[in-house]
């Protein structure tokens, strides 16, 4: 008898255990899902889009902000007179009537008619009181300074799912930070469909995008763009770019490229204009490269400023090639100060040969040549520097004066900034701080990348570059009263295995005030027509911008 009781007890216990297990499954494992299903019966699940973070210049002005726009939608099943509605909508919205008509004739309950319409147009459409036509509110990127710093900022387009996505520049590089995260919310309604107060209205997981505060100074950017435009027009260049950096921190104060595009209407422009040429284009730097080779030789104590070149009295023959100076003028027994002042190619061949290939490659590596700088914008490239065993004797010679070797403008700017910054090379940064949606500010600290030369060498090289400005080919345009270090560059353009005989890339790199540099700047003009020389095209633009910036920063003359 007891035996039977025990069996019945065990059976009942087992059944209870099964019930408890099942309850555990529903109450614990699938609790969240069931809860959401329950809420859906009396509410509505809505996706809450995050607000995209703004991009502000150093003065706190939003160079990329958000504005409210509307999506015009229609329910074709509710529209009776399609042709009348088509005429009214296409006239007001400025879109092709055929496209509107085709949308309104679709066998659907929801069609999009026009995107990104502003408030005024919305009010005009509303006044027509068209049945079956409605609006959906959207957030769209708005650029108060229009195309200012367009290639630096990038733009916001759509991804494969029709959602906003940042492309190029800062919008592309910081996409995850700027875009934030979508959230879900259940809105509980009463019997009349009105929302009621309930805990379930709380939005879950939604995170707005962070705001970026740039190191870019809006006034400096405006001045740089204005001067660059004037220069391109005056010298008939096909394009041009300028970047200004603070050498002690690596902060990018301004970065401009022309022609630019309007980020709001980016589709109206050629896609080749989207990328930032200052970080994405490579070119042979020509004579602006000479300060790097010279400072390497000075740092390695292979030459001194007074070392004289004993091979500079005429063209130099290396590996079957004759190397000439840019103007075919030769100065026998020239010293290193004058080699830079006259931008003497034969003198630089002498320096490069003294330096030797191994040492030159080692110094170039420390100057960051052949490596990405780590600048925080999308699309940076680093031209390949061929391995040591693939260099011919003539390659070493031509690299001495910046031909046969490619760099990006940002690489060169970073390298020259090491001379301006007492030998220390800093990582360039466009973004200064990140403000999270809860208001937490994260500052991006300056980062030292390398120390290619000693402070003493940097000082000597600075004096050589000041002499080049005061007595070199660009002295006619120099800024009197200020000690400015600089170097002109006129680089040949390689095309199909040889150099273009008529076109050049003219450039000027320098820093001011030379003794305590506030900025280092590189100006690059592509194929100027009025003159092929950097001293006659890029240099005046450099000094015009330098004058504006020195005035803006209220830096008095020091001479």
């Amino acid at each position: 008898m007891i035996y039977r009781f025990k069996i019945i007890f065990l059976v009942i216990f087992f059944l209870f255990f099964l019930v408890i297990l099942r309850l555990f499954y529903w109450q614990v494992i699938r609790a969240q899902e069931l809860s959401e299903m329950g809420q859906m019966q009396y509410g509505k699940s809505i996706t809450v889009s995050p607000v995209r973070g703004e991009i502000k210049t150093s003065d706190g002005f939003p160079i990329a902000a958000n504005k409210i726009t509307y999506l015009v939608v229609a329910n074709p099943k509710e529209i009776k007179d399609v042709s009348k509605v088509t005429d009214q909508l296409s006239g007001l919205l400025g879109i092709d009537p055929a496209s509107v008509s085709a949308s309104l004739r679709l066998d659907k309950y929801w069609v999009a008619i026009a995107r990104n319409i502003d408030m005024e147009t919305k009010i005009k459409v509303e006044k027509l009181k068209l049945q079956g036509v409605g609006f959906e509110q959207q957030s769209t990127r708005f650029y108060p300074e229009a195309s200012m710093a367009a290639q630096l900022i990038g733009f916001v387009g759509k991804d494969d799912f029709g959602k906003d996505k940042g492309y190029f520049g800062i919008e592309g590089y910081f996409e995850r930070l700027l875009s934030g995260k979508e959230g879900k919310a259940i809105r509980v309604n009463d019997a009349f469909g009105k929302p009621i107060l309930a805990e379930t209205n709380i939005i879950t997981n939604q995170i707005d995008g962070s705001t970026l505060i740039l190191n870019v100074n809006r006034a400096a950017q405006f001045l740089v763009e204005r001067r660059l435009k004037q220069g391109i027009d005056k010298y008939g260049a096909s394009s041009g770019m300028v970047a200004v950096m603070e050498p002690s921190t690596g902060n990018i104060i301004a970065m401009a490229s022309l022609p630019a595009f309007d980020p709001k209407n980016y589709k109206d422009y050629e896609s080749s204009l989207y990328k930032n040429p200052f970080v994405s284009d490579t070119y042979e730097p020509g004579s602006t490269f000479k300060p790097l080779i010279m400072s390497a030789a000075l740092d390695a104590k292979l030459v001194t400023p007074t070392t004289r070149c004993n091979t500079c009295s005429g063209p130099v023959s290396i590996g079957g090639f004759d190397i000439h100076t840019w103007n075919d003028k030769y100065y026998g027994n020239i010293n290193m100060i004058d080699v830079i002042m006259h931008s003497d190619n034969t003198g630089m061949v002498f320096v490069a040969q003294k330096l030797g290939l191994s040492r030159m490659l080692s110094y170039l590596d420390k100057f960051g040549i052949g490596k990405t700088t780590g600048i925080d914008v999308q699309g940076e490239v680093a031209p390949w520097i061929k391995p040591k065993d693939q260099w011919y004797t003539v390659d070493l010679a031509t690299a001495g004066f910046g031909q046969g070797i490619s760099v990006t403008p940002i690489e060169l700017l970073g390298a020259i900034s090491a001379i301006a910054n007492y030998g220390k090379r800093m990582e360039p940064h466009v973004v200064g701080s990140v403000v999270s949606p809860d208001g937490t500010i994260t500052k991006i600290k300056p980062k030292e990348l390398d120390k290619p030369i000693s402070p003493e060498t940097a000082k000597v090289m600075t004096e050589i570059m000041i002499n080049a400005v005061n007595k070199g080919e660009a002295q006619w345009t120099r800024l009197k009263g200020y000690r400015i270090a600089g170097k002109t560059g006129t680089a040949s353009i390689p095309i199909a295995g040889h150099y273009d005989p008529t076109q050049t890339i003219a450039s000027f790199v320098g820093f001011a005030p030379a003794d305590k540099p506030k900025f280092v700047m590189l100006v690059v003009l592509n194929r100027p027509q009025s003159s092929i020389y950097g001293a006659e095209t890029a240099a005046p633009i450099f000094f015009n911008i330098a004058r504006d910036l020195l005035n803006y920063y209220e830096i008095p003359p020091d001479e």
Partner: protein, 95 residues
């Protein structure tokens, strides 16, 4: 015994009636909250839109491109010559 039971029933009845009244009062007051919430939501949304539009207008009006063109229209010209005051040695020094 009978008295006690009567008292208990009266108290329970009183509690029941009080709770029922309280419930209907709360339900009554909450029944209109949906409409009020809807109104508040609409108002909030309208204010947010107004704020966004004003912000947009403010940014557009304070852009350097616009200020520069307005300045040019008003006759402002770029100053070519700059004047700077440097700390020169004074004429006489008090010893």
């Amino acid at each position: 015994m009978k008295k006690k039971a009567f008292l208990l029933i009266t108290i329970l009845l009183f509690i029941f009636l009080t709770l029922a009244m309280a419930r209907s009062m709360v339900s009554n007051s909450m029944s209109t909250s949906g409409t009020e919430l809807g109104k508040a939501g609409d108002e909030l949304s309208a204010l947010k839109i107004e704020n966004a539009l004003l912000k947009e207008k403010l940014f557009a009006l304070s852009s350097l491109a616009l200020i520069s063109s307005k300045a040019a229209e008003m006759g402002f010209v770029e100053e070519k010559n700059t004047f700077s005051l440097t700390s020169t040695v004074p004429i006489a020094l008090r010893q």
